[in-house]
Amino acid sequence: MAKNNDTNTRSDMVGDTPIDPGAPFLEVENLHVEFHIEDGTVKAVNGLSYKLAKHETLAILGESGSGKSVSAQAVMGILDTPPGYVTQGSVKFRGVELLAPNSKTGALDHAVPEVRGTRIAMVFQDALTALNPVFTVGWQLGEMFRVHKGASRKEAKEKAIEMMERVNIPSARERVNSYPHEFSGGMRQRVMIAMALSMDPDVIIADEPTTALDVTVQSQIMELLSDLQKETGMGLILITHDLAVVAEVADRVVVMYAGRRMETGGIDDIFHHPSHPYTLGLMDSIARPDVHLDRLTPIPGSPPDLLAIPSGCPFHPRCTYATDRCPAEAPKLEQIAGQHSSACFYWKDVQIDI
């Protein structure tokens, strides 16, 4: 198979820049994303930072409107610009900086298109709308090979079948010429995963991959992702609001709220020693087989209007631990132990309450 674009397939280079073998697969630092709309400026992401290492699964946890999807789009470079702009921050893929300042807009552009789809890939939520309805699944899968590796139609089709088998789609050879709407939800999602996997990326970002699926299918998909990750050693970023999914596969968790990190830590830390009122609220609001609860307590209030985020700590209006300090001062991430940190002045009180 003819290799068209060598720089994509040689794993020690990204474009013209050599990778840093010691660097984390993905490093996001102080990312800020804004949307300039008619009614004002929406601050969707406010200072998000995380690192993703090889073999690791990082879960970005948050409600709708917490900025988690937007941050992923910014990392991929598929943000809708305008109205969205990356105003600050850095995104490094294996040590190579992906963002570059744009003198015209004053914002940061995603300047390394070579990584998109090939080194960093993305899986979306609703495969029915995320896949193109008028092209066959085989065509869409094969497209990756045709465009990025210069494969011929025949070769691409064979590769597509191979990928479909890899994600456990039965009767792949017969179904490669079918259209997305002819598949069930779970199968469609597998197709999406196959597409993301096709170029052997180092990082896959899965944006709510199971939200549109039935519970039984959900676990199948998560298992698939997990197995694939063990096979390839890639890093997986899982964006979700579903705690159950996080509990199943994540190694580390970043809890987001109003575009900011509230708490980060290992899975054990977050689930068994939540140290932020928001995280605690999340834990209390779901049913858990490992903890006995008398009642489920939802978090009072509703997520903030991102056009006007509350001052200081954005969670303070809904927080039972809030004091006068909270609206005045935005808490920084304070280390608790090891990789466990919390952005709350009163994390110790939260821990006592468990």
Partner: protein
């Protein structure tokens, strides 16, 4: 229909094709009642009008009694109505579209006039597709910019101005003032048809431009576009291949309907520009109150329109796989 089936056969043969094949058969089956219904309707509209069918055929001309008898015989006016239609439609299948008052077969008249109308319609269709689609797609891609506003405003103006007014404006501006095109009349070849074709196409062109623009803009916001970009595809590929095919679907539907509008609109255009086409023939016949000729040509035009619709339905089935299940 034979042509359609033979076109469909290679498609039906391969795996993807069976759905398409079934869809085609369904479409053809739907075509049949519409065919008879429409031809019957035209027939009925003329002959079922209250009043004397003789008058329908020959207008207010004073007729000698032998002529009246001859007419009655030829058109079987003493037979029940449905029989009249049956005879009429059988004749049509044999290529007999009736004759005018003097006995001159309508079919000959049509064959004589057909080339001009076909050329006019084809040229107009070409204008409409090429100019309209390009303008619409470019406007959609550059949404909000100058070109987009220009297209939106100009199409609105063109839609509002009735076609015969546009025709006259065209004559004055391009014919008289600029002298680029002949004001009216037909000369051999295509050149004298260019201005009329442009006028004929104008309304549809405006619609196509707007429709393709809207469709493209909508599709550019679709989820699959985000996926395509995440796959690392170039912008030109995302727009040119992924969105275009989806965007074209409603445009093709419109183009199907539009072939009929071109036929109907050709009447006005041919009248203004004095072109010896089918439309003009209908107009002249209507003015001369030659009912039989009017029916004959109208039937023919409608049949052509129906076949064109069927063909476009087929095209639609090829373009959008989801439609094959309807």
């Amino acid at each position: 229909m034979v042509l359609g089936c033979s076109l469909a056969l290679p498609l039906v043969a391969d795996e993807e094709g069976t759905d398409l094949g079934r869809y085609l058969i369904r479409r053809v089956l739907q075509f049949i009642p519409v065919f008879f219904g429409a031809t019957f309707l035209i027939f009925a509209l003329v002959f079922l009008m209250p009043g004397d069918p003789i008058r329908a055929l020959s207008g207010d001309k004073p007729l000698a009694p032998e002529v009246v008898v001859a007419l009655q015989e030829r058109y079987h006016l003493d037979e029940p109505f449905y029989k009249q239609y049956a005879i009429y439609i059988t004749n049509v299948f044999q290529g007999d579209f009736g004759s005018d008052f003097r006995g001159y077969p309508v079919r000959d008249l049509m064959l004589d006039r057909l080339p001009v109308t076909i050329r006019l319609a084809l040229l107009a269709f070409l204008f409409e597709v090429v100019i309209g689609l390009t303008a619409g797609v470019v406007a959609g891609v550059r949404k909000g910019k100058f070109f987009d506003s220009l297209v939106l405003v100009s199409t609105l103006v063109v839609i509002a101005i009735p076609i015969f007014v546009l025709g006259f404006i065209g004559q004055i501006v391009f014919g008289v003032k600029l002298g680029w095109f002949p004001i009216s009349g037909y000369r051999e070849g295509w050149y004298s048809l260019m201005l009329p074709a442009l006028v004929l196409a104008s309304l549809s062109l405006a619609y196509v431009a707007r429709l393709s623009r809207t469709s493209l803009v909508e599709n550019l916001r679709a989820d699959y576009v985000r996926t395509a970009r995440a796959k690392g595809l170039s912008t030109s590929r995302v727009i040119g291949i992924h969105t275009l095919r989806n965007s074209l679907i409603p445009v093709v539907t419109y183009l199907a309907v539009d072939l009929g509008a071109l036929m109907g609109g050709a009447i006005i255009t041919e009248t203004i520009f004095n072109l010896p086409g089918l439309g003009r023939a209908v107009f002249d016949a209507a003015r001369a109150q030659e009912g039989a000729v009017v029916i004959g040509i109208a039937t023919f035009l409608v049949i052509v329109y129906m076949i064109a619709n069927l063909l476009v339905d087929v095209l639609y089935g090829v373009l959008d796989p989801r439609i094959r299940y309807e």
